[in-house]
């Protein structure tokens, strides 16, 4: 089967792409930069650059090197794996097209998570925080209990965007409150609290989630920089989510105080 974009097909323009990757072999090594000169093809993204390098791991000055380690999976910006900082901005490597970038392109790993190797970072803290916030609908069981609660199309349309969070970590990367001295969970996690607190069944356990999100590293740590919403690849209304959870948290705190 011949397809429209074949690897060695219509390309051959002779144009080159210059990409610099920030490399770090392991935790002990100091990071360093390597530059690669690659054959330009239409539709080229950062993943294709990484694959070209894996097939021919030689730097632009002719020095043999190792393939660059990186996380990637779906390649259509829905799994969240391939977040990297490209030209200073966190993005998904798969949907970042070379032609939209100024060269030389600079690619670095996310800086707010522990580095593993090259572009790979350890984002497991995001999943741990989802657990702390009890980000789920506590159902009785998976046996057949009939249909779920009815929901208006309006409510569905409001919540669906929140449930498209791909846990990429971009919002944490740009948040000044996420740093070595803070435990702030970040916008993505707080937005999930909003999602589950507004689900008809999830709402029955909103108090527990609010208690968690009022704890250390919770919603109170947000300093309203509003960078998160700028870099979310799914355009999730993160700042709205934080404002809403703030309101819910204050309400719960005041009611708790009044009832002593």
């Amino acid at each position: 089967m011949v397809t429209e974009t074949s690897k060695h097909g219509s390309a051959g323009s002779g144009k080159k792409v210059l990409v610099r990757f920030k490399r770090q072999e392991d935790l002990r090594e100091k990071p360093h930069w390597e530059e690669f000169s690659l054959d330009h093809r239409p539709g080229m993204n950062i993943i294709i650059c990484l694959r070209d390098i894996a097939e021919h791991p030689v730097t632009s000055d002719g020095k043999p090197t190792t393939p660059i380690a990186y996380d990637a999976n779906c390649l259509e910006e829905v799994c969240g794996a391939c977040a990297m900082v490209v030209n200073g901005r966190p993005r998904q490597a798969c949907s970042t097209l070379v032609d939209s970038l100024q060269q030389p392109i600079r690619v670095e790993p996310l800086s707010k998570f522990p580095i593993v190797r090259d572009m790979i970072v350890d984002r497991s803290s995001m999943f741990t925080n989802l657990m702390r916030m009890k980000a789920w609908v506590p159902i009785d069981g998976t046996y057949d209990l009939g249909p779920g609660p009815r929901m208006s199309p309006e409510t569905q349309e409001k919540h669906y965007p929140l449930s498209r969070c791909i846990t990429c970590g971009n919002c944490l990367e740009v948040c000044p409150q996420v740093n070595e001295n803070s435990a702030f969970v970040g916008a993505a996690i707080i937005s999930q609290v909003r999602l589950f607190n507004s689900h008809p069944t999830g709402a029955m356990h909103a108090r527990e989630r609010l208690a968690a999100v009022m704890g250390p590293g919770g919603v109170a740590d947000c300093a309203n920089a509003q960078n998160c919403v700028e870099v979310c690849p799914k355009e999730i209304p993160l700042t709205e989510s934080i404002a809403e959870i703030n309101r819910q948290a204050i309400r719960q705190a005041v009611v708790g105080w009044l009832l002593g």
Binding site: N45, A81, L145, T167
Partner: protein, 594 residues
């Protein structure tokens, strides 16, 4: 009472469902996944999940869903498990709804349903055009809840290497590798459920995710687990071709009214919107008036091939056709198809609400997979179970759109409890297996790694993989000629020889992705042979398997399941009867008017 221990390999929909079912019954589960489970390939499923809930007053029923699925699969599927799946589907959608999946709603607040390929009923529940993502997240959240109660332990970032089999060929656990530290370790268990998904990487570029290599299935195959109907590969009619992957444009685009066409005049250089209605050839509507744009995928894919290669009507002479949704109101598009239209816009920089999309078929799904029995999702090796795309059970010779999500969940629901029944019935649990058995397997796998890391050679693994993909895509997808299949098998054997001379460009022992890729590559090559030889042997056309030299379905000789087994380095084939007890096979004609 002794509580058994279950291992689940793979954290997509099937793996998570099996995990939940096992954890729910109080059993401890260890869940292994290459990627954090929330990033599994199930996120890519777009259009929806089938369940005959009949909420549109059309008279739909689970019996009709069953019939559509069997007929759509060209009668190759064993019927009892498909029937049970279709009957379970409405309950599955209810369960997902209770878990909080954000399905689209009607004005009454009920679940909305749309039409999909191969049926005349609105049977597909959907959450925008990201249904798989929404479902995966719901199951991921439930598993996280069990994790918080210490009923599930996750091993994310681990890759499966081999099963640990005792002298009686009973599976006593697995051997896996930590992709960060490269540590090889064995994990004992009473039963293991494999939910390791698709095999797209064997075809180079497909709609699949990077982890869908079929490596685990192939490793098991080489250890004696049979593989069935490998030659049945679904090529999805509508994808955006790309060098790194072919991005799917869901069938739901047509379910919501999208139309496929090419200009009547070959090579027409006008922009699509400048071509008047009368000068457009809506080939699916013309050739298949009853089902129109919603014929099953194998039919639509061959129709596109005919339009492009036989009639030479591809867009400006190239292999592409239009998928047009520009006549649908923007608001409807955003509400029901937003997710996929965004993908098109981001990757091609063109707004598909304004301009018809250029699409072409791409390898998408394997109907074939690990052989399992009809009742328990059990393989032929005691203690090994399989569910999801990696099994062969539910889709026959061609899968209907939106049936994969239901088969994943249903498969997990079967395999979870069945593995526990088996584990509870064991005379001796994993604790009584001598440590030497595990040590031996670990050393064997470590030795393979060491050999790869130290060998001096001239071959690059990525180059071998690219060649494999090009050959498989060209000769083992839509149109199959015996001569080309023979050549492809010879090519794969050549690649297996060259594999012996692989030179690892990375010899480090920390997060070495080149090493893990090489392990996968070997397994891909073996499974590629199973697929290719299976196709070569089957001299008929059925569902997705099409041979121009044998254009008819041949029930007398080929209404049977292909079963491949591995015996001392040789791939062997046998065939077994298909259970067609409920619906007698009939001719499959989507072009009929009635």
């Amino acid at each position: 009472m002794r509580q058994p221990k279950i291992i689940v390999v793979g954290g997509g929909l099937a793996g998570l469902m099996a995990t939940i079912r096992a954890a729910e019954s109080g059993v401890t589960v260890e869940l292994f996944s290459i990627v954090p489970v929330k990033r599994s390939h199930s996120v890519c499923a777009q259009g929806g999940i089938n369940a005959a809930k009949n909420l549109k007053g059309e008279g739909d029923s689970t019996a009709k869903h069953f019939d559509d699925s069997i007929y759509g699969g060209d009668f190759l599927a064993n019927q009892p498990p498909v029937k049970a799946m279709c009957e379970a589907a409405p309950g599955i959608v209810d369960m997902l709804d209770r878990m909080g999946v954000m399905f689209n709603r009607t004005s009454e607040g009920l679940l909305d349903f749309r039409r999909f390929g191969g049926t005349l009923y609105c049977r597909t529940a959907f959450a925008g055009a990201t249904t798989g993502q929404q479902m995966l997240y719901a199951l991921d959240e439930q598993v996280r809840r069990f994790e918080s109660e210490d009923k599930v332990k996750k091993y994310e970032g681990w890759t499966f290497l081999s099963a640990v089999l005792d002298e009686g060929k009973v599976c006593r656990g697995i051997c896996a590798m930590d992709l960060k530290t490269m540590e090889v370790r064995t994990f004992p268990a009473d039963a293991t459920i494999f939910c390791t998904g698709g095999i797209g990487a064997i075809f180079g570029r497909s709609t699949n995710s990077v982890v869908c290599t079929g490596s685990a299935q192939s490793a098991l195959f080489q250890q004696g687990v049979d593989y069935a109907n490998g030659e049945f590969i679904q090529v999805h009619p509508t994808a955006i071709p790309g060098e790194d992957k072919c991005r799917l444009m869901s069938e739901s685009a047509r379910g919501e009214g999208g139309r496929m066409w090419v200009p009547k005049k070959p090579g027409d250089a006008r922009r699509p919107r400048e071509i008047p209605e009368a000068e457009r050839f809506y080939f699916l509507e013309e050739w298949y008036p009853k089902y129109g744009n919603l014929v099953p995928r194998d039919i639509a894919t061959r129709a596109i091939h005919k339009a492009v290669y036989e009639l030479k009507q591809g867009l400006d002479g190239r292999p592409a056709v239009y998928l047009d949704v520009t006549h649908i109101p923007r608001d409807t598009l955003n509400r029901k198809l937003g997710g996929i239209l965004e993908i098109y816009e981001k990757f091609l920089g063109v707004d598909p609400r304004e301009e018809p999309m250029r699409v072409f078929p791409a390898m998408h799904y394997t109907m074939g997979g690990i052989w399992i029995d009809n009742e328990n999702a059990a393989t032929n090796v005691a203690g090994i179970y399989a569910a999801g795309e990696c099994d062969y059970q539910y889709h026959g010779a061609n899968r209907l759109g939106a049936n994969s999500l239901v088969s994943c969940i249903y498969g997990g629901m079967v395999a979870g409890p069945a593995s526990i029944r088996y584990a509870r019935g064991l005379e001796k649990g994993y604790e009584s297996v001598p440590a030497t058995l595990f040590d031996a397997e670990r050393r064997k796998q470590e030795f393979i790694n060491e050999s790869l890391l130290h060998q001096e050679g001239t071959e690059n693994p990525v180059t071998i993989w690219n060649e494999l993909g090009e050959w498989m895509n060209e000769h083992v997808t839509v149109v199959r000629h015996n001569k080309n299949l023979e050549r492809t098998d010879a090519k794969i054997q050549e690649l297996l020889e060259r594999y012996k001379k692989i030179n690892l460009s990375d010899r480090t022992s920390w997060s070495n992705q080149t090493l893990s890729f090489c392990r996968e590559l070997y397994n891909m090559l073996i499974l590629a042979r199973v697929i290719t030889i299976g196709a070569l042997r089957r001299d008929e056309s059925r569902g997705a398997h099409y041979k121009p030299d044998f254009t008819e379905r041949n029930d007398a000789e080929w209404l049977k399941t292909t079963r491949a087994s591995y015996d001392r380095g040789q791939i062997k084939f046998s065939y077994e009867r298909v259970d067609t007890g409920a619906i007698p096979p009939r001719a499959r004609r989507y072009d009929a008017q009635a």
